[in-house]
Symmetry: C2
Subunit: 362 residues, 2 copies
Amino acid sequence: EDHLQLEYKGAKLKLNYVWLRDHCRTGDSINHLTQQRMVDSALIDPNIQPVNVAIDEGTLSITWPDGHQSEYDLEWLLSNTYEGKQHLQGTLEPLLWNLETLSASPSPSVSYQDYLTDDGQLSKLLHNLLKYGFAFVEEAPVTVEATLAVAERISQIRETFFGRFWCFTSDLERHDTAYTAEALGAHTDTTYLNEPAGVQVFHKMEHVGEGGDTLLVDGFHAAERLRQEDPEGFAILSSVSVPHHYLEPTIHTTGVGPVLELEPGPCKELKLIRYNMHDRACLDTVPMEDVSRWYSALRNLTRYIRDPASEYWVTLQPGRILLTYNWRVLHGRSAFTGRRRVAGCYLPRDDVISRARVLKVI
Amino acid sequence: EDHLQLEYKGAKLKLNYVWLRDHCRTGDSINHLTQQRMVDSALIDPNIQPVNVAIDEGTLSITWPDGHQSEYDLEWLLSNTYEGKQHLQGTLEPLLWNLETLSASPSPSVSYQDYLTDDGQLSKLLHNLLKYGFAFVEEAPVTVEATLAVAERISQIRETFFGRFWCFTSDLERHDTAYTAEALGAHTDTTYLNEPAGVQVFHKMEHVGEGGDTLLVDGFHAAERLRQEDPEGFAILSSVSVPHHYLEPTIHTTGVGPVLELEPGPCKELKLIRYNMHDRACLDTVPMEDVSRWYSALRNLTRYIRDPASEYWVTLQPGRILLTYNWRVLHGRSAFTGRRRVAGCYLPRDDVISRARVLKVI
């Protein structure tokens, strides 16, 4: 016997004794300010057995051979074990959308002044961003400073080799596709980094000309269609890591990961989509005998992404700042004429999620 | 037949036709400045067959049904296919070390002035960093500016919620273990971020007191011992993602990934070690029936990490700046008395590797 069995709220928990000793919540086993572990996991006796076990009023109490007393709230056990988690619902479920879903929902937006001064409006923005995968801040001053203020209200900026802040024009300063006037199909950004940027902030500061509308597609909606309709394709896209790259004379980065990356653990939720036809590098991570199945899965996923029913087109007026959750929502644009200037920056996903947690949005 | 077979330099390549069309190196299939793909992978006919194939002077030439001509250098095919890569050696092999190995090798260091002005010395620093997992810059001014100059010579800084630059003292400004005067066992940093920091820059600016030496341990050396001596343990630590977290009243980040993360592809090289007993959060990503094997593997890995033969202790004098490759080399410190101030920052792994590629260090 290396575990104790417990049933709580329908979950059957088999609690391994080493795990229990390692996760003791009491005494000097944990720093209660930081939740940092003070137990040395490697020094726990692999054959440890409790000398006493009691359950009383929602608390599991254990006495260990050295006299140490541990206590565990049963609710806490439910939230923090592989088996227990399967019985929980997240506090904020993403709303996977297509054009029809969005037509029935109000546009997720907050106004600039309220957003900057009112934590409730910041929470609403983060809620929108995590529920829909995108959100708007309206009525912002058409300045770089205001765009930065919107970004830094959430977290520090994620600086890349583009700098802290970028400005796309059609002036072809760089050779990357983003800096042309061509149409860009729906894609995610920075697939050429090991961890793609979490949130992208876009502000169209100026456009004198035609076209240049912004396309949004919910990558998780497309991926869930694939999971339903081509489970084998979903399995290969979520298990095989593929490389992406960015090359300039002074830059050569690579990012390698699955097109559909899943959360670890029992629920297999989507964590991240990497979808960028241009930046995908040589497919050298798949044995040639599996290559054909991989391309077949990519074709199916692409069909769902390019389905006109998936496409949400918006016109970004100066003053309307768009934030996309780049781990989920793809963006693109129609071709344009004239001078068009879009400024923006990236935010690190960890810190955006941290902010949402601290504000109890999730 | 969906592929053509080719033998080159001992590698048997089975080249799938869709893969070949997708990886065409000629004409308008690729942007030669950025190596961005101009082919739409999803639109390639799944049953595509060449109308002509020829191999001449190290080049494979294919004519496709629509008349498009593709050419592939055979060397390029060797470097960019799953099967071909297995026959290649990296240009810079990491030297996995223990104390004995290091005693036989010169200490990897460059001098501050040369490093700042001479690209050859920058290359040497990057070579040291990627070969040993750590490197020194000597004779630096004992200032924040000089420390930043050493960092920014390589790439932009990776800002975290600690800021762009941090300074540890024993003044207990924060509650995290790093900010105490206690001994810290060998660990990697920022396991509580989805992507841990790539490189850590340390500069001990001041110490009036005893102790406070710096410990370095090659995590990949320990991991390779585990791969040899406990293959099942290596398999579980490299396949199971485990969560880590950081908590303060205004911060709550999590990072989830395997203790031993491997490169995708055929060679199963180590990519990244996450090893932090304090910051590891609740192990809720492993079914309870596998938990016991996971802890057993962690114990074995820990034994190799804490083996005194693995430990390289250094005294950091002010002016001697240490860079560690945090994806590989663990650091720790002995307890100390008195006032001790260590300043430093993180660099993003992608950009460090990019710099090394551009300088042809790797």
